[in-house]
């Protein structure tokens, strides 16, 4: 009896809670070290990015409106989903050339990072807020709010846990995210959408665009509905052109050379805005 024909997966984008292909119809191929085709994945275009911005703007409303407790529940649910699918993710990372133990470690680290940030959603507010002891008869306090729609550009050498770090630190603060790039593990990045999709994350709060970050950097920098850009492991020339473009609408920018080894609430704070409110005290 002949071997059963495998049903192979089509690796798609994740935009607005749906799994579209690139509107450009373009794909990139992932080949193993011997040059053998592993799979094709979407090469996101600038139009895909603009579509994702619309989705993210809609997703931001729902995500911002969610209570910090609910955001924590959803991030934790994503960790549960990834734990349940860890065999699939380890296998996929191996397909993309990683050794088994390294792949397992990367997936575990991704799960743990989700749990870490799940715990911060209802704590950063207190950590970064203040009641200001003003010298007048006012009750004055400062609280953080999400920056808005943030593009996270992930460089070619950054693994799955680095991409998860980028998404989680932004989501934990209440931002909507457009995660771009992930050339080291595009198949896993694509599959990550399925994890979030089954975690009750509002559609559009996280969007995943596989492809070449440099293709999207200019649009990410110049798009006026993008409020901030996070870059992990980008080429310095890409970083520079992004910063130049971003000055057109004064975006918040944060760049790190490589995926951080541990999470941090200060990383969340890079994309929080502090709002100070004054109330008179009196009758």
């Amino acid at each position: 009896m002949a071997d059963r024909i495998l049903v192979k997966k089509t690796y798609k984008l994740y935009v607005g809670g749906k799994f579209p292909r690139s509107e450009s119809g373009q794909t990139l191929t992932f080949t193993d070290k011997k040059g053998k085709l592993v799979a094709a994945y979407c090469k996101s275009s600038r139009k895909d990015f603009r579509d994702a911005v619309l989705a993210a703007s809609a997703g931001l409303k729902a995500w911002k409106a969610a209570t910090p407790y609910l955001r924590g529940q959803i991030l934790y649910r994503a960790a549960e989903m990834l734990e349940g699918r860890s065999a699939q993710f380890v296998e996929e990372l191996q397909l993309q050339g990683m050794g088994k133990s390294a792949a397992r470690k990367d997936v575990q680290q991704s799960i743990d990072r989700m749990v870490y940030y799940a715990g911060w959603t209802d704590k950063v507010g207190q950590l970064f807020s203040a009641v200001n002891p003003v010298a007048s008869s006012h009750f004055c306090f400062t609280v953080p709010e999400p920056t808005g729609v943030v593009a996270a550009l992930v460089g070619d050498a950054v693994g799955l846990s680095g991409a998860v770090e980028a998404a989680c630190r932004l989501l934990a603060g209440g931002n909507a995210v457009i995660l771009c790039g992930c050339a080291a593990c595009p198949l896993s990045a694509s599959s990550l959408g399925e994890v979030w999709h089954t975690s009750d994350l509002p559609g559009g709060a996280l969007n995943i665009l596989t492809g070449i970050p440099a293709d999207l950097a200019e649009t990410a920098g110049s798009h006026r509905a993008i409020d901030g850009v996070l870059g992990i492991g980008l080429d310095p020339a890409v970083e520079k052109s992004l910063q130049e473009a971003a000055a057109d609408s004064l975006k918040r920018l944060s760049f790190v050379a490589e995926a951080p080894k541990s999470g941090s609430p200060y990383a969340i704070a890079d994309f929080l805005e502090m709002k100070t409110t004054w109330h008179p005290v009196g009758v």
């Binding site: 970064f128 203040a130 200001n132 002891p133 003003v134 010298a135 007048s136 006012h138 004055c140 400062t142 409020d227 310095p236 970083e239 520079k240 052109s241 910063q243 130049e244 971003a246 000055a247 057109d248 609408s249 004064l250 918040r252 200060y266 805005e273 502090m274 709002k275 100070t276 409110t277 004054w278 109330h279 008179p280």
Partner: protein
């Protein structure tokens, strides 16, 4: 005599009598010495209320900036970064005390050089300057508590550029946290208002700061560009226009140099039907006519709920007639001189355009002095969203008025701007305050009050109003480099 029953007798003049010693020429303040510019350039500074020359100040060029930056670096390496933090704090306390002692002279000088009413420079600007130094002085030896679980160190030399609307207050907002965190500073005051910063330099001498810790370079855009572009400047802090802020962010691309920008605004001032109307009218007046409207967080867009629009506008139009426009040094003055000629022309241009658009303009009808730069308090009624007077920062005593029907529309209109510095809400209902202040995208929200400032209260913008916060614990963050 006015027909306005509120003014049944004209006020007698009440000029401020404090004398302040002003030199004919000021040098650049480098290494605790006043020195002429390398190329000998100077710039004149005028009293905008009468157009008279007050003094001449040296005009810094690239060579001067380079010299000041080197000196600041040396002071950082040799003294300031090595000094016990508590000692750094004591210098700042000393400076705060000297400012308190000389507050009247500083207030007079501020009003002479910048045109703001003495009532404001005396009661708002200068007390806040002293308070700011006093507040950050105390942080100098407590910074380990400010950044839990992180290591921190100063950046080194901070380059700071400030505007002409609150000359000494902006200097204090910049200098105090930078110095408390252990940085040394090269500060450039605005070309129109150098004098109080130079008076402060004299107090720095008197406080016996180590030479080179505070350097003050008067000058224009050449000096500003040189500071931003200098390789040995480790941090940039800028307050000014959004346009220049964008140029700075662009020019710093690829340098890795940290920056904070406090830029323009077009704040919505939202008045709900259930507000205490008479108080709201006073709040609106304070929101837009404070400091001639030369305030980045001014409440320049009035949003009034339809049901009270007629009554509120009647009261507001009445109220602006009672404002006294005139001599900044008169204690009765509400609205002083427009700070400088280009700004006066810019405001007139906005008003001309609004008239050409067919908008209804109402002003207070005051007689204006013949000399100097002036603008009556002006209201632009029923301004459409597409109008430039609604979309752009006028930076003058000009209020654009729109109406709304319900809270959602108010929020929508308030947020329909590229700016996000401040906002105001007037209502008697607490839950409505929280809903609206949460929804307005701006860094500072005033509920049933407006234009309040305090050194402990973080201030700064969302969106194109800039990034970073000044004031409070949050205001320390821009002046340290954090490690793991």
């Amino acid at each position: 005599m006015s027909e306005n029953p509120f003014i049944n007798e004209p006020y007698a003049p009440a000029p401020e009598s404090t004398k302040v010693a002003i030199k004919d020429v000021y040098g650049l303040f480098i290494e605790n010495d006043f020195v002429p510019a390398e190329d000998g350039s100077t710039r004149e500074t005028f009293n905008p209320a009468n157009g008279k020359l007050i003094s001449r100040v040296a005009e810094a060029g690239e060579a001067d900036v380079d010299k000041a930056v080197q000196v600041a670096r040396k002071a950082y390496d040799k003294t300031w970064s090595r000094m016990a933090p508590a000692e750094r704090g004591k210098y700042l306390y000393r400076l705060a005390r000297l400012i308190q002692e000389r507050s009247r002279e500083l207030a007079v000088l501020e009003s002479m050089d910048g045109g703001k009413p003495i009532r404001e420079s005396r009661d708002v600007d200068i007390p806040l300057v002293a308070a700011h130094f006093f507040y950050y002085a105390g942080w100098a030896d407590k910074l380990d508590y400010a950044f839990p679980n992180r290591t921190w160190r100063p950046h080194g030399v901070a380059g700071q550029i400030i505007p002409w609307n609150f000359p000494l207050l902006m200097a204090a907002w910049k200098l105090a946290p930078a110095l408390a965190c252990g940085n040394t500073v090269v500060l450039k005051p605005a070309e129109f208002t150098p004098l109080t910063a130079l008076y402060l330099a004299e107090l720095v001498q008197e406080a016996e700061f180590p030479p080179g810790v505070i350097n003050i370079l008067t000058g224009g855009s050449t000096a500003g560009r040189a500071i931003v572009g200098h390789d040995a400047v480790n941090k940039i802090a800028f307050t000014g226009s959004t346009e220049v802020g964008k140029l700075i962010q662009r020019s710093l691309a690829g340098t890795g140099k940290p920056y904070t920008l406090e830029l323009g605004g077009k704040a919505a001032h939202i008045i709900f039907e259930d507000a205490a109307i008479d108080q709201a009218v006073e709040g609106i007046v304070n929101g837009i006519f404070f400091n001639q409207g030369h305030v980045c967080c001014a409440g320049s867009r009035l949003l009034v709920q339809e049901g009270i629009a007629d009554e509120l506008m009647r009261k507001l139009e009445y109220r602006i007639q009672t404002l006294i426009v005139g001599d900044p040094l008169d204690k009765n003055t509400d609205i002083g001189a427009i700070n400088n000629q280009p700004q006066c022309e810019k405001i007139q241009e906005f008003l001309k355009e609004a008239k050409e658009e067919g908008l209804e303009l109402v002003d207070g009808g005051q007689d204006l002095p013949e000399q100097g730069f002036w603008c009556r308090p002006t209201i632009v009624k029923n301004a459409p969203q597409s109008s430039r007077i609604v979309r752009e920062e006028v930076f003058g005593p000009v209020l654009a008025v729109q109406t709304f029907r319900n809270p959602d529309e108010a929020i929508e209109k308030a947020n329909n701007t590229r700016y996000g510095l401040s906002g105001g809400v007037w209502t008697d209902k607490g839950s409505k305050i929280f809903k609206v202040t949460n929804a307005v995208q701006a860094g500072v929200l005033w509920a049933n009050t407006f234009n309040k400032f305090d050194p402990t209260a973080p201030f700064g913008g969302y969106k194109e109003s800039g990034m970073g916060r000044e004031g409070g614990l949050h205001g320390l963050v821009p002046y340290v480099r954090l490690g793991d």
